[in-house]
Symmetry: C3
Subunit: 305 residues, 3 copies
């Protein structure tokens, strides 16, 4: 019955309504230019960290993290990630995004600890602004976003998944997902927490965050941290099917609805963005935290050798 209405509504131009959030300091003007439309069916762009393929016939882009060894979120990675998101967001041929990993057994290991150790306060501030920017763009994306989680996804990796519209995870007893910051002696920022609470509810979040839990796939599914669990070989097919279901809706109505659901949490972060950066810089600069990170990295080095 709604088919006609749907077709009409799709003609309404995608307006990027969810994005008053870009940060010129970080990305510069150049990246804001609309891409030149090419007459190809499949468009690919890549950088050191991420591969993006856009199927212009279906409007679905696939983004593959390819930063060995564990897709950690360095400042470079985050910058490339945000530039890729912005390109797709501004590309009228793109309506949906599937995010997955090209590295076996890991989706993303989260924030790169090297960016938080032995650097200047200016560097810490720049790094944290990039983490914020990534979340603002992804949680507030006007595209349909699906996380195809083909490996473990702790901390910042979990945040990426949480920021999508739908989460599908591979059925593998070795894979875990969660916001485990407390395990490292640090604290997830309030907007990680808000995103988590919006997904799994207050009580589950309260316990999981305090214990810094990394949930095995089945448990993650039970608590609603992931929406679906599939065998590895079915992941891409399932992600495509989910995207198709979401794309059957008129973009404009779906985008306005998404904005209505997420606006409060996005606005709350924006209202405290600079304060949040200052808090991070102050916290991470503490001798006790730096010493803790130092010992942690020493341990990692020994483990490798």
């Amino acid at each position: 019955m709604a088919a006609v209405a749907v077709m009409v509504a799709r003609r309404v131009a995608r307006s990027g309504i969810l994005f008053p959030y870009s940060s010129p300091q970080l990305w510069g003007r150049a990246a804001l230019q609309p891409p030149v439309l090419l007459p190809t069916q499949r468009r690919t762009f890549s950088n050191n960290k991420i591969l993006v393929e856009l199927d212009t016939s279906s409007g679905v882009a696939t983004m593959k993290f390819k930063s060995p060894p564990v897709n950690s979120l360095s400042l470079d990675f985050l910058t490339e990630f945000c530039i890729s998101l912005e390109k797709l967001e501004n590309d009228r041929a793109c309506r949906a995004l599937i995010i997955t990993s090209a590295i076996p057994r890991i989706f993303s290991s989260g924030l790169d600890i090297m960016e938080m150790f032995g650097k200047s306060t200016e560097h810490y501030a720049e790094f944290w602004r990039a983490v914020q920017e990534m979340w603002l763009r992804l949680y507030g994306s006007s595209m349909v976003t699906v996380a195809a989680i083909n490996g473990s996804s702790p901390a910042g990796g979990c945040l990426i998944a949480l920021s999508c519209d739908y989460r599908i995870m591979v059925e593998n007893p070795k894979y875990v997902i969660g916001l485990n910051e407390a395990q490292l002696g640090i604290v997830a920022p309030f907007w990680f927490k808000d995103t988590f609470v919006n997904t799994v509810g207050h009580r589950v979040a309260e316990r999981s965050l305090q214990l810094g839990l990394l949930h095995p796939v089945t448990e993650a599914h039970q608590i609603g941290l992931v929406d679906e669990v599939v065998p590895e070989e079915k992941l891409q097919e399932k992600a495509a099917a989910v995207v198709a279901q979401w794309l059957a809706l008129p973009d404009h109505a779906r985008q306005l609805t998404k904005s209505m659901m997420r606006k409060a949490v996005l606005d709350h972060m924006l209202a405290h963005r600079e304060e949040d950066i200052q808090n991070f810089v102050k916290f991470i600069s503490k001798d006790s935290i730096q010493k803790s990170l130092s010992m942690y990295m020493e341990m990692l080095k020994k483990k490798k050798s």
Copy 2:
């Protein structure tokens, strides 16, 4: 143990504490007069759209929607609905309300599309105020309210169910319920969303609203959109049993508790009521939306013939 306290507390006059919300513009003074108390056991009043029977011995009223073909919520229907609600609210003999449908297979099809097409902005504003008024009265009712959902209940029909204290739905694989506005290219207003989130939680609401899902009965039960599922022939009996359970509580304590739970969402809407009307009028007056509705109605006409 609490029986005595209960009996005493029941003597406290029903004070209609939840209702600073009546809208004189719509209903006029006459409707605000308290009804004359009659010595009858069963009182009936009816209009073109709705039949109301009040059993004065039990204090339970049953309201039956009887507006063919699909109990759509026209301005006339909403006006009669609100007048009926107000009568019962002000009637000291009435403590509970069961809402059901006299039309087979449909509870209510939601807002009448004819009220939103080709009319003046004044008409749109009047219509939207009536939709708001209905929700304010029902979600904020001091009566025990039970939805006995004996048919499909999309969009505004679902809102009526969500605004009650308890939802019982008939076990029929053909019946569906949900806020499917996005399917039609429109967006559920924020107070539909708030009512939905209060019932099923943020994550379920986020997905269901973006996809405009109409949930089959079993699924609706699983996500907490309905509280109970029963065979058609057991519906009235079950509704009566649920009402009896809720009426066993002292009215005053139950009403204050209900108000405490719902006040934030009711107040938020009241604080943005005029703005919400203006937003609706502006949105619905758009050429693109009017064209979309026109094509939708053309399609419905062809389907009928």
Copy 3:
């Protein structure tokens, strides 16, 4: 991997970050003095109402309610409870608290009705401030808190359990738990409600509070009101295991995370604390409520004789 970080972080002094909440009016200066550190392995302190044992090697305190017949929360009980909480909070040797009952079949029966009947408004105000203080200290505790619920736990007893980090209840079909205030013709205050909603979600809380439900153990587990159900003989062992799991985390990170999760609800109460006292005093002083409580107590007396 996080083991080293954990060890380092534990050295960070416990700072009692969650407590800007003490109320000098109630507790006086004396109680605020830090306790003298003794070289014992096990420290015990006790009063008429509560027994506390602190194992200084593990950092775990066990608090046993021992106020016959039903551990009701009188002004004296609440005062002793708060003083005990404060002692432990300020004791650097204490990191966790298990709360349980020394009375068979009852955890705590909730607020003492005698404190709410036939007293002066000054007394009502003092009593209510003590109830608030107890919740502020427990819900905002920087210790790991586990409720080992070995008996029924209505109303204020349920609030104590809800204010802990984790709830384990004994598997006994006769034990019930819930906020049943509405059954007595009274209304749970907004901060009872907020604590309940944070645990079981809005919809479950809405129904449970309006019906004043006392949930049997199995049902309490299903709705998330308790986290785990165990046979009576396994209760202490389970509580110890849970505490150990929570203590494996760095105190500082866990405490900051807990504060982040609970701060909004704690702050909201503090901002309305005096108003809440006035509301309680006004409500409980009403003739209708006093008459209701009088009849309730008459009934209890008859039942006993």
